[in-house]
């Protein structure tokens, strides 16, 4: 169980690198999406490892807030900054 959490953190770091060196703006948004989905899985795995179900509420709120954030960022980019 602990091995899987450590491997997932490693993969998260690898996908974080795409935000730093993505050539275009949408590559960075894609990297943000992948980091958010892996962080969500990490919260659920940590809650299962510790056995505390209160962390799952955090996971639900994080999923909804990440959705709203990425949607508004992509609309903001599409309209070239005029919102």
């Amino acid at each position: 169980m602990l091995t899987i959490i450590i491997l997932l953190i490693l993969l998260l770091t690898l996908s974080l690198l795409r935000i730093l060196l993505g050539p275009s703006l949408w590559d960075r948004l894609l990297g943000l999406n992948m980091v958010a989905s892996k962080l969500l899985a990490l919260i659920v795995l940590y809650a299962s490892y510790k056995g505390i179900s209160m962390y799952l509420d955090l996971a639900i709120v994080y999923a909804l807030l990440g959705f709203v954030g990425i949607i508004f960022l992509s609309i903001y980019v599409q309209r070239k900054g005029r919102f």
């Binding site: 169980m1 899987i4 491997l7 997932l8 993969l11 690898l14 996908s15 795409r18 275009s24 949408w26 590559d27 948004l29 894609l30 999406n33 992948m34 989905s37 892996k38 969500l40 899985a41 659920v44 795995l45 299962s48 179900s53 799952l56 509420d57 996971a59 639900i60 999923a63 909804l64 959705f67 990425i70 949607i71 992509s74 609309i75 980019v77 599409q78 070239k80």
Partner: protein, 97 residues
């Protein structure tokens, strides 16, 4: 016994997520990257959370994880669609590899 089956499911999820990241660095163009990245990632995510459900059996913990799976299934295609549509409407051209 249940722990071992759960570990097998979680390893399968890590397999899919690893291939998604490999595709993220192997392709050169944005449109191929978004086709690979977010969708193979979702397949791995469902398998990973199915492992958590099997590990905890029939309880309230599993019910909450079920709701998280349905939430991700509804939300994730919307995000992918929004990013792709933003790039397409801004005039990003498709290039051959």
């Amino acid at each position: 016994m249940r722990e071992i089956i759960a570990l097998i499911f979680m390893s399968g999820g890590l397999f899919f997520i690893g291939f998604g990241i490999l595709g993220l660095y192997r392709f050169k163009n944005f449109y191929t990257r978004i086709l690979i990245g977010s969708n193979v990632d979702t397949a791995g995510f469902i398998l990973l959370l199915a492992g958590v459900i099997i590990r905890h059996g029939f309880s309230f913990f599993s019910l909450k994880v079920c709701f998280i799976i349905f939430l991700v299934l509804i939300v994730n295609p919307l995000i992918t669609h929004a990013i792709t549509r933003s790039a397409y409407n801004s005039g990003f051209k498709i290039k051959k590899e």
